[in-house]
């Protein structure tokens, strides 16, 4: 059973090679660090002072995540998850996949795991990018010191873990939609619609019921007491619904 799942996962992982979702993950993870690095070089005079700041890593973390959590992360998750889910529709390969000797459960969870690992990959890449934001100026410019503050691993890990949790409901719903609808515009359109609605309702006292901007709440410390638990809850419930809809589908390809 485990071996079958592993083989299925490997197969799904191979499918994403050179796909748009992979490029999106790479570009999405590298985009903000590159912009912030360019910005740091633009304000060349403050480079030395900034790198000597005892809170340099917190500054870079805050600046990077501010843009990422507000816009790029929800957008990236909506697009990348929908793209992975749509891979079979676009290539007309559902019928091929469903005639392979694997259970529907294996197929469903192998695909979901690919999305989650890609999300993790994105987080790792983004954090390497933040690290390089602090390191590269010191490597390239002689008079700029290496960051004085030791890299706060635990702080980064905890912060990233929270942001990762806030992405899970978006992954689950986008995955559900991308498996159900042949037209790519449906999952993307619904995802963007909910995101815009969530932005509009951000200041509403019940805004926490819309999970698409939990990453913003996490950044601002809003509804912190409940959004992580709700994220897990939304993820589990939506995944179960997605799974049931998937296995009881009338036509498979």
């Amino acid at each position: 059973m485990t071996l079958t799942f592993l083989n299925s996962f490997q197969s799904e992982w191979m499918k994403r090679t050179r796909s748009a979702a992979v490029w999106l993950t790479l570009a999405g993870g590298a985009f903000l660090p590159v912009i912030i690095l360019l910005q740091r070089f633009y304000f060349f005079d403050t480079l030395s002072k900034d790198n000597s700041d005892p809170k340099i890593w917190e500054q870079l973390y805050g600046r990077s995540w501010q843009f990422m959590a507000t816009f790029l992360l929800p957008m990236g998750v909506i697009l990348a998850t929908s793209l992975i889910g749509q891979l079979e529709y676009r290539n007309n390969t559902w019928k091929q996949l469903h005639t392979t000797p694997q259970s529907l459960t294996t197929i469903f969870f192998a695909k979901l795991l690919v999305i989650l690992i890609m999300l993790l990959q994105f987080f790792i890449l983004f954090n390497i990018g933040i690290y390089l934001e602090g390191l590269i100026p010191a490597l390239l410019v002689k008079r700029v010191p290496f960051p004085a503050e030791p890299f706060p691993f635990m702080k980064y890990l905890l912060g990233n873990g929270k942001f990762l949790l806030t992405c899970l409901p978006v992954v689950a719903l986008q995955y559900l939609l991308s498996l159900q609808y042949r037209n790519f515009l449906v999952p993307v359109g619904v995802g963007l619609g909910i995101y815009i609605f969530a932005i509009m309702a951000a200041r509403w006292k019940y805004g926490f019921i819309i999970p698409y901007i939990y990453s913003v709440y996490s950044l601002n410390g809003q509804f912190e007491e409940r959004i992580y638990l709700w994220s897990v809850g939304y993820f589990l419930v939506t995944t179960i619904i997605g799974y049931l809809l998937f296995i009881y589908k009338e036509e498979r390809g």
Partner: protein
């Protein structure tokens, strides 16, 4: 009792709005056969094959493959089945070898099979070329390579020659015949191209409007062809010729100044020719038109 590799019983399917898709389809595909599944477009061929492969949820009836129920042994059965349903089903952003490798992972067949099936389908030299740059024929050949990757015992091919050029069709036919004869693979091949089926299959099933109209060995069907033959004799004296023919126990009629005979064997025609010549009648032409499969098919589907 014949061992059927694939058997369906009372397979019935309704489309939305209670529209009848299939009506009591009882397919019986003997092991080792090449079974031609014939029918015009929209007859129910693809629906039947999709139900057999579990691509459509079954509503009524039963499906048994290799003697086991598909409902309870789905994964075990699919390990031994290769399929191609309708248009090519391949990942366009990957190469042919990559497409095969990701399925090789699932089937857990030897890695060397990737190269073997690429060679078998003439795709070995496609190298790093992505499938999106393949012609339709190449994509179709890749789909066939995928279907054969794990050395299946049963191949289910829905219109596999779509998009192939005449040379490709001949190659495909030879390949399927070879697989059937050398590896004893049972093949179910659907088509609306009757000439293609006729040259390849051992058994035939004819479906129209969701109903199976005929099922049996090909030679039983072709037997009807000889029985339905018509011969036209063009000669110097048609009336006297007809009298002579009737006197000798054959049946015939006059039509447009020529003698028209029904179902006369080759030997019979030689005998008639000899008698006419001996009676001093000049025979200009004897033309026999046999009922081909097309006629039989049209008769079945039109009724």
């Amino acid at each position: 009792m014949t061992a059927y590799c694939l058997e369906t019983a009372q397979l019935t399917h309704y489309f939305p709005h209670n529209e009848m898709g299939l009506d009591n389809i009882c397919l019986q595909v003997p092991a080792g056969a090449i079974y031609g599944f014939l029918g015009p477009n929209g007859a129910g061929k693809t629906t039947t094959l999709k139900l057999i492969l579990g691509l459509l949820r079954k509503q009524q009836g039963s499906i048994r493959i290799f003697g086991e129920s598909f409902d309870t042994h789905r994964v075990a059965i699919l390990k031994r089945v290769g399929s191609l349903i309708e248009s090519p089903s391949v990942y366009a952003h990957l190469t042919a070898a990559e497409n095969l490798r990701l399925l090789q992972k699932i089937y857990q067949c030897p890695a060397a099979r990737v190269r073997e099936v690429l060679a078998l389908t003439g795709l070995l030299d496609t190298g790093a070329k992505k499938v999106q740059r393949f012609s339709l024929g190449m994509k179709q050949r890749l789909s066939i390579a995928i279907a054969m990757l794990h050395n299946p015992s049963l191949l289910i091919l829905d219109e596999p020659t779509n998009g192939l050029d005449p040379a490709g069709i001949i190659e495909m036919r030879a390949l399927l015949r070879q697989l059937n004869q050398e590896s004893n693979i049972t093949i179910v091949i659907s088509s609306h191209l009757l000439t293609e089926i006729e040259k390849l299959v051992t058994h035939v099933g004819i479906i129209n409007k969701g109903k199976l109209l005929y099922q049996g060995e090909l030679h039983t069907l072709t037997g009807q062809r000889a029985a339905g033959s018509r011969t036209v004799i063009d000669c110097s004296d048609a009336a006297r010729s007809l009298t002579l023919i009737l006197e000798n126990g054959w049946t015939g009629v006059l039509e447009e100044g020529k003698v028209l005979l029904e179902s006369v064997s080759r030997e019979g025609l030689a005998d008639i020719n000899q008698r006419l010549v001996m009676a001093g009648i000049q025979v200009y032409d004897m033309n026999t038109r046999r009922n081909d499969l097309e006629d039989i098919f049209m008769n079945l589907t039109n009724n």
